[in-house]
């Protein structure tokens, strides 16, 4: 493993991000912005899921709920007084982070499998609450009119490009955060929870506290990913915000990419996300989801450590003649 420290890595990430942004600006095809935005969103969701799922070993089936909470807090605020999107992202993160903390506090003392079921229950309860809440549109949905462009310090930016840029920034922050955690004492503690929670406790690891940190962070990032969504899509409905594809993808992408490192969710999201964009357009969205599901089942059985695991396995075999 390389010994690139966090500061260096952040700089590299910023550099890569700047290049991507410049390239996108030069190409300037609206559809590409849309498709890339979705993939970036999935990178954040997958990375966020992996903090709790891959690092700590606690499965969250309710990613959609945290994502939707971010989206709906934006809708809620938009109806009161439109705030700039970066602020909405922050608020979405806080809301979903609190939900994550609350839910963790209630259910993390239980076994991992109970926690997973609880996350599923939470998603449905929150969806039902939102469906019955007319202020944010209920089941009819809410419209958010997206401005054409944004004026900032004298420069005029295309609004889609603006959202893309924000999501790119969020993705970079998520990746740097995940990598930093992984290499820190916190990440080390997470790994003990995943390996053997009982032994971790006996060794002095405050497992509940660490799990709560993981749940809160994970939820917060998912909420941040969801906050700009209403602006991106223009019309928000509970069935789309709480859609099952968010839950499946946020699990499938890290598992296929590899759960033990920040690289896994990144690779998984890019590969699976791009494949899905392609499949949705060429085949159908239902077949596309079927393929995701089959790949999840297949990878979980055959390659439990994902693509990273496969690569590591080949490297090991190649080194030992």
């Amino acid at each position: 493993m390389s010994s690139v420290n966090t500061a260096k890595f952040s700089l590299i990430t910023i550099a890569v991000g700047a290049v991507v942004m410049a390239f996108a600006h030069w190409v300037h095809v609206d559809y590409l912005y849309f498709a890339s935005y979705t993939i970036l969103q999935f990178i954040v969701l997958a990375t966020a899921w992996n903090i709790l799922g891959g690092y700590c070993g606690y499965v969250n089936f309710g990613s959609a709920a945290f994502f939707a909470m971010g989206a709906y807090s934006s809708v809620f605020i938009h109806k009161l007084y439109p705030l700039p999107v970066p602020l909405l992202i922050l608020i979405g993160g806080i809301v979903s982070g609190l939900v994550g903390f609350g839910m963790g506090y209630l259910t993390l003392r239980l076994r991992g499998s109970f926690f997973a079921i609880a996350t599923l229950a939470l998603a449905v309860v929150l969806q039902t609450l939102v469906v019955n809440w007319d202020f944010v549109g209920g089941s009819r949905g809410a419209y958010i009119i997206r401005p054409e462009e944004l004026e900032f310090a004298g420069i005029t930016i295309n609004y889609i490009e603006y959202l893309f840029g924000l999501m790119l920034l969020l993705t970079m922050i998520a990746l740097v955060t995940a990598r930093t955690i992984e290499r820190s004492q916190l990440g080390f503690g997470f790994a003990t929870i995943r390996d053997d929670e009982l032994a971790a406790e006996a060794s002095g690891v405050p497992t509940l506290r660490l799990k709560l940190i993981a749940t809160t962070l994970s939820g917060a990032f998912m909420g941040m990913a969801g906050a700009p969504f209403p602006y991106y899509i223009g019309y928000l409905q509970p069935s789309s915000a709480f859609g099952l594809e968010y839950a499946v993808n946020s699990i499938a992408m890290p598992m296929i990419g590899g759960t033990t490192s920040w690289v896994g969710p990144l690779i998984g999201a890019i590969l699976l996300g791009s494949a899905q964009q392609y499949a949705t357009v060429t085949i159908s969205s239902a077949v596309n989801l079927l393929i995701v599901g089959l790949m999840l089942v297949g990878f979980v059985i055959i390659a439990p450590n994902g693509l990273i695991g496969l690569v590591q396995g080949w490297r090991r075999k190649w080194r030992q003649p």
Binding site: V59, F114, L120, L122, V124, Q127, T128, L296, I301
Partner: protein, 289 residues
């Protein structure tokens, strides 16, 4: 408050509750006794519903009869799924993260496959007892709810007898408590678990047929049942059949009352909300130990 409405809501809730018990019986075995978190169980139920629908619509056979004929096939399916689960996860000690992801994937694949084959329209079956009702005083008992209720109770009773009276049934109960002792007796615990899981999925065949009798189904209906099933399991205390029955009845009644007096859009929240509350405050269940 309209007393007639209240009593009918409770009656409907009880009938529904019995059905929920049958639905949960399978999970009581896989989760309660084998400690396998099969969240894909509702998908197998929906599969059962669609099989009942298919043969009922195309060949006019009674849905419950279809499900009984389908029992061996579902049993084999369950045994096969367990074998994969055991080989890939249980043996390697990775059942928590990957096992869950596996079943979630199965749930998803089943649902989407059904959408591709049958579409998202609601499907229903036709049988002689769908339509008429029995009237006892002010109570209306629709036969399409009463018949599944009776079959459910029979199914439930059969499973309870199986677990307590037969050798294999008791071995299943034993395997959940002490695998080593079972091995020392010369019984292969893996085989016992495979049989138990097979039975668990077989119950889904019947539950599926009953479901499509009670209400029209479409592929995503299964997901509502995940919360119900696990709420009942947890509320009733894992592995306790009488507890499961009581919890199921309770859930049925509360849901029915909620739907009647607050509107059906709140109904899904009842089961899942109950589940969350139970997990948060009393994970050992109502008959908590």
């Amino acid at each position: 408050m309209d007393i007639g409405l209240l009593i009918n809501a409770i009656a409907a809730g009880l009938l529904l509750g019995a059905f929920y018990a049958a639905v949960t019986a399978g999970v009581s075995i896989s989760f309660g006794m084998l400690d396998i978190v099969n969240i894909a169980h509702p998908a197998f139920i929906i599969l059962g519903s669609y099989i009942a629908y298919f043969f009922n619509t195309n060949y006019g056979v009674d849905p419950i009869l279809i499900s009984i004929i389908a029992l061996p096939a579902f049993y084999a399916l369950g045994a096969a799924v367990y074998q994969v689960y055991y080989q890939s996860f249980e043996r390697r000690g990775q059942e928590s993260l990957r096992g869950l992801a596996f079943f979630f994937g199965l749930l998803f694949v089943t649902e989407v496959s059904l959408i591709l084959v049958f579409g998202v329209d609601y499907r229903y079956v036709e049988a002689a007892y769908i339509g008429p009702s029995i009237h006892i005083g002010i109570i209306d008992l629709p036969l399409r709810m009463l018949v599944p209720c009776v079959v459910s109770l029979l199914l439930f009773g059969a499973i309870e007898l199986f677990v307590t009276r037969t050798f294999i049934g008791r071995a299943v109960k034993a395997v959940s408590q002490d695998q080593m002792a079972l091995q020392l007796m010369g019984v292969d615990p893996i085989k016992i678990k495979r049989i138990a899981f097979g039975i668990s999925i077989a119950t889904a065949a019947v539950a599926g047929a009953l479901l499509v009798i009670i209400q029209p189904v479409e592929p995503s209906v299964g997901r509502e049942y995940i919360g119900r099933v696990f709420a009942i399991c947890v509320l009733g205390g894992l592995g306790s059949m009488p507890g499961t029955l009581i919890a199921a009845m309770l859930l049925g009644v509360v849901e029915s009352l909620t739907a009647t007096f607050y509107g059906p859009s709140w109904a899904p929240a009842v089961a899942f909300g109950l589940l969350l509350l139970t997990l948060a405050f009393r994970p050992a269940g109502l008959l908590g130990r």
